[in-house]
């Protein structure tokens, strides 16, 4: 028994997040009995990744505050202030808290024609599935599960998302949801192939699909090495998250929010944050593939946390750009979206692949 605990502690202690700043504090901890173990566990890299960054804490903060940032920024772009009165001295920063609590306490209506079990399951299920890729995404050097196939797994999971949206629409059994679902399916095929090809281009370029290695091999960030692939990835991400020029499946004014028109209460609350969740994951992926992950000038005293810091900053940058498209572009039509996916983007993705191959060839010589 003691042996087991000892081996466990050894594994835990050997893989700690090192933060020089709080080290003196940690040293004084052994005097308090259990706390030492708890802190050790918290700082154990896999658990840290799961619970803090990029996992639950940062993810949660993103979901709670990013919509506020988006609304505020859009407000600025549109000559107004956005959410404000709720805590006026902080500019209404907890607006989303109020919204989500309201959803939580509101009635959830399941209408007569819906397929009841699926109608209720899908929002929760998809929320879970959407979280899974976070396990494989490293923040700096901290990752929950490290495998050489991480990128492939993330991609596979990301490509699963639309299936759940289809499920939502199907279970709703409503006309607008039906049209929205069909559109989602169409769009899915349009962006998926170029999107995957862009990722493959980067895998070829870095000759690995372990995100940690990938980040370390970007002495020059990927976006400069292969800007075409970066562009394709970004547009693909905008399509996948259904952001403005491609907000085709759930176009509010045409289809009343398409697949999730029938959802109310907390079920809708979950769906509402789904697209932010998607956005967060894709931005994180973009950070790893094209922006050098957590690399950046080390900040004194933060140790490995400095990687985490840069990672979060970059992710937010991408996320903001992705979401500010809304303030600039109106929506494409379905056929235009499809055309864009199937022709220019596919071509660009091929060019991206070619660039990678050429660069790899040149480097080999």
């Amino acid at each position: 028994m003691t042996e087991m605990i000892n081996t466990l502690m050894e594994t835990v202690m050997s893989n700690q997040v090192s933060i020089p700043l709080i080290e003196p504090m940690l040293d004084s901890l052994p005097e308090i009995p259990m706390l030492q173990y708890m802190v050790a566990f918290m700082l154990w890299k896999p658990l840290f990744a799961l619970l803090i960054c990029p996992g639950l804490t940062v993810g949660g903060i993103t979901l709670l505050f990013f919509p506020w940032i988006e609304r505020k920024l859009c407000g600025r772009a549109q000559w107004r202030v956005g959410p404000h009165e709720i805590v006026w001295w902080l500019g209404g920063v907890i607006q989303l808290l109020a919204d989500s609590l309201r959803f939580l306490f509101q009635e959830v209506i399941v209408h007569k024609d819906a397929h009841r079990p699926y109608f209720l399951q899908f929002p929760f299920l998809s929320f879970m599935i959407f979280l899974l890729p976070l396990l494989f995404i490293p923040a700096g050097t901290i990752v929950a599960i490290q495998t050489p196939y991480a990128i492939q797994i993330i991609l596979a999971l990301v490509c699963l998302f639309p299936l759940f949206i289809l499920g939502l629409g199907w279970a709703s059994n409503s006309r607008f949801a039906y049209i929205g679902t069909v559109r989602e399916a169409f769009m899915y095929f349009a962006y998926e192939i170029p999107f995957i090809m862009a990722v493959i281009a980067m895998i070829i370029l870095y000759k690995t699909s372990d995100p940690l290695l990938m980040a370390s091999r970007q002495s020059i960030p990927g976006i400069i090495l292969n800007p075409v692939a970066a562009l394709v990835f970004f547009i693909g991400a905008a399509m996948a998250t259904g952001r403005m020029p491609f907000e085709i499946p759930d176009s509010d004014q045409e289809l009343c929010a398409g697949p999730h028109v029938e959802y109310s209460g907390i079920a809708f609350g979950l769906i509402y944050v789904l697209c932010y969740e998607k956005g967060y994951i894709l931005s994180a992926l973009m950070t790893i593939l094209f922006l050098g992950g957590g690399s950046g000038p080390a900040i004194a005293g933060l140790g490995e946390l400095s990687g985490v810091f840069w990672f979060v900053v970059k992710t937010y940058l991408v996320l903001t750009t992705l979401y500010m498209l809304r303030a600039v572009y109106p929506r494409y039509r379905l056929d235009q979206g499809l055309k864009l996916g199937w022709s220019p983007m596919l071509c660009l993705a091929l060019i991206g692949l070619a660039i990678s191959l050429v660069e790899v060839g040149v480097m080999a010589i």
Partner: protein, 790 residues
């Protein structure tokens, strides 16, 4: 005591362990389902836009009822809309709140004795009423605050008003405010639409000769009723033949208005078609072909819709109003504009509306003693909680569904409550992503303007005429007032004419930016909406300074304007003409020239010249298809012929052309305003109401306040039909007033608004396009349902 629906919401919020959290969250997250039922919606849009920014309060506009928890009922709920309101309310999750805004929702407002409206409080439980016609954005925000306070559990369940002492002038003035004029209804009036009038119009005399030769044996009489107006009387059996002749030989190609006049004491209906053609000489001319048919239970006449398609919807509408069967029009089965449970044939003279009378109550001098419209559904239930949804009626389209199923098509019912439908319903049949057909179901804001107008004094109709379209109020007023002036032969003082022109053009600019604000919203581009409404806010600011009202000034009265406007307002208007370009440029950059937008509008919804004329579309949309018809050029009124400007025409006829055409047009409008302001600034002040109409009250020529009813109360128009066409923001608005020469109320008022004519164009233009394009087409026509439904 039994728990009411309203208390239930509060109880839900106040139960359970998490009460404080619940209350707090609900308070700050009231998402309104924008139930834009009628004109008050314009002000709601302003509240949401950057000027007032409703989102500050956490109030995010959400079009989807399942996810909203707050309804703002904007104004009138008609019988047809009642069911939609109820459904939306039922669809919303608990706890939910309802605010009714606008006078219409309370005691009926200006439409209190209409046959088609209901009180929202009879249909859903209401938390707050917010008064105003329309409400101002400030009071709307105040309404949101009131709901928030209610959720917090504060006691003020109503807004309390302080009792205000009205300033009492001397006795005489006090009386002057009273609409003391009793209405005079002639018992057996002589109704004629072909009263001849001497007009200095050589072309007309030639034309009559020509017509007489052409229509030999088909007509009973041909009369010149006014300059540019000719009435042709014919027998019912010759109607089609006459029309065909006109269409074949004279180039008459569209119908401007269809009208039925009920004359019960002579046992007849008069049916008239006002037609014209878009050839150079025919443009300003309106030919009225009319005939008389017996007043039986099921009067019949042959439809002209197969000849002039533009008559189609108007015929269907008149079928609803009078029960006249237009043989050959396929839409004669059910009701078109009216709800299934509206009284039958409401515009016949034997259907009487309630009359108002004024009482002098303690403290408040003049209280109109009106009974608010009370909606009693067919079943015996008396309150909303006992209502069955089935009691409220909305048309169903069984046959369409059946046919679509046969053809393997998909049918979607869009509206009347939909984020992108406005307040009318579209039955869209599609195959794949292609629209096969769109069937309009209008009438959700039909508030029976025409019937009400027959029951009010001429001057009382001035505020009424602008209600259909409060985004373009001045032009709506102008048309009505010009018809009266024309009938009475009044010369309007020059200064007043210039000011009227300035205001009409400002109103046109305002309406353009209203439409161009809604358009981006339909495209999912909220920035365009905000920028556009920011510019509109500037226009409204000027309106307030000129008239004291944002949207409903009723400022133009027969003979001039209510009062003179001051020099600093003119200065401001002058500055506006330069300042607008700065914002306009930003707006153009972000929205109009947005590549995504251009790719969506180009070659979408094309109407060729022929199609456009056939569908009878009007205004800038017609010009975009290449017809050079602008009333301001063809039949100049006010001072348009003295100013230097150009009418814009295009030839593409697609959505892009319509938008760019209108954009060019308002740039011209800004020029007109600038020139007119310069001209007014050089004129002496005062004298803005014609002396001819003032009579003994010459003192009122600067300011009509205090004398309005003395001067206008007993206005009687000479016998005959007086038709005016005016170029409103969205096209030609036609008023035709029929007076019997004895009553001081009109015998019949026919109002044809541009949106009503454009409805057919929308349908034609969207056939064969992709589903998403429907909204592009729809919004490019600037369709404003209250205006269309009247």
């Amino acid at each position: 005591m039994e728990e009411t629906e309203k208390d239930r919401n509060i109880r839900i919020l106040h139960s359970g362990v998490f009460t404080p959290l619940r209350r707090w969250a609900t308070k700050w997250s009231l998402w309104p389902c924008h139930f834009l039922t009628s004109c008050c919606g314009v002000e709601l849009a302003h509240t949401g836009a950057c000027g007032y920014d409703m989102e500050r309060l956490g109030t995010l506009n959400m079009g989807i009822s399942r996810q909203a928890n707050f309804i703002m009922v904007e104004g009138t709920i008609t019988r047809k809309m009642a069911r939609a309101l109820r459904i939306v309310w039922e669809q919303m999750p608990d706890p939910k709140f309802v605010n009714v805004i606008g006078a219409c929702g309370q005691r009926g407002g200006i439409f209190w004795n209409s046959y088609n409206i209901t009180r929202p409080s009879d249909i859903v439980p209401v938390d707050f009423f917010i008064p105003g016609c329309p409400i101002t954005p400030e009071s709307l925000l105040r309404g949101v605050r009131a709901v928030q306070e209610k959720i917090e559990g504060r006691d003020n369940t109503t807004m309390r008003f302080k009792h205000v002492e009205l300033p009492s002038g001397d006795g005489e003035q006090e009386q002057n405010r009273a609409p003391t004029t009793p209405k005079i209804f002639a018992p057996t009036p002589l109704v004629r639409v072909d009263v001849s009038r001497d007009a200095d119009w050589a072309f007309g005399k030639d034309m009559v000769k020509n017509l007489k030769a052409q229509l030999n044996g088909l007509y009973t009489s041909i009369t010149i009723t006014d300059k540019n107006r000719i009435a042709i009387k014919t027998m019912p059996e010759n109607l089609v033949e006459t029309s065909r002749k006109l269409s074949d030989t004279m180039g008459v190609d569209h119908v401007k208005s269809v009208n039925v006049i009920d004359v019960p004491h002579e046992r007849k209906f008069m049916v008239e078609y006002m037609v014209s053609g878009y050839t150079e000489e025919l443009m300003p001319v309106i030919l009225t072909i009319f005939t008389e048919i017996g007043r039986e239970a099921e009067p019949e006449i042959t439809s002209l819709a197969s000849l002039w398609e533009s008559a189609n919807y108007s015929e269907r509408e008149l079928h609803d109003f009078f029960g006249v069967q237009f043989k050959g029009n396929e839409g004669m089965k059910g009701k078109f504009l009216l709800a299934p449970d509206t009284p039958d044939t409401p515009l016949r003279k034997d259907f009487k509306l309630e009359e108002e009378h004024y009482t002098i109550e303690e403290g408040v001098p003049l209280t109109p003693a009106i009974t608010p419209p009370h909606y009693t559904p067919p079943s015996s239930s008396s309150s909303y909680s006992e209502f069955e949804l089935e009691d409220l009626k909305m048309p169903t389209y069984e046959d369409v569904l059946k046919e679509a199923e046969k053809n393997d098509e998909f049918v979607a019912f869009i509206g009347p409550h939909h984020s992108g439908s406005g307040h009318l319903r579209w039955v869209m049949r599609m195959k794949g992503d292609i629209i096969k057909d769109v069937i309009p179901d209008p009438g959700y804001v039909h508030r029976s303007m025409e019937k009400i107008a027959e029951n009010r004094l001429y001057i009382q109709n001035v505020p009424l005429t602008e209600r259909p379209n409060i985004s373009d109020p001045i032009n709506m007023n102008l048309g009505y007032v010009r018809a009266i002036e024309n009938a009475l032969g009044i010369e309007v003082p020059e200064r007043a004419m210039y000011i009227r022109t300035i205001m009409a053009e400002l109103s046109r600019i305002g309406a353009f930016f209203y439409d161009m604000g809604i358009f981006p919203l339909f495209m999912g581009h909220s920035t365009g909406f905000m920028y556009s409404f920011a510019i509109r806010e500037m226009v409204l600011e000027l309106m307030v300074r000129m008239t004291g009202s944002r949207c409903t000034p009723s400022f133009i009265i027969p003979g001039g304007i209510r009062r003179d406007i001051s020099d600093d307002v003119l200065d401001r208007t002058r500055k506006f003409t330069t300042a607008i370009y700065k914002r306009l440029k930003k707006y153009e950059n972000i929205f109009v020239y947005n590549p995504v937008l251009i790719s969506r509008m180009k070659e979408v919804g094309v109407l060729t010249r022929e199609e456009a004329i056939r569908c009878g579309i009007v205004g800038p949309f017609l010009r975009a298809s290449g017809v050079e018809y602008d009333v301001r050029k063809a039949e100049p009124y006010e001072v348009y012929d003295k100013l230097d400007w150009e009418a814009t025409t295009g030839d593409a006829g697609d959505c892009l052309g319509r938008i760019f055409g209108r954009l060019e047009e308002i740039k011209q409008s800004v020029e007109i305003v600038r020139q007119a302001v310069d001209a007014v600034q050089g004129m002496p002040r005062g004298g803005v109401i014609s002396e001819e109409i003032l009579g003994d009250y010459k003192a009122a020529s600067d300011d009509i306040r205090g004398y309005l009813y003395n001067v206008y109360g007993n206005l009687v128009l000479p016998k005959g039909e007086w038709t005016s066409v005016t170029e409103a923001a969205r096209g030609t608005v036609l008023y035709s007033i029929i007076s019997d020469g004895e009553s001081n109320v009109p015998y019949r008022v026919r109002i044809i608004t541009p949106c009503w004519m454009n409805l057919r164009g929308i349908i034609e233009a969207s056939k064969g396009e992709r589903v998403a394009d429907f909204w592009t087409v729809y919004a490019s026509f600037g369709y404003f349902p209250p205006e269309a439904d009247r």
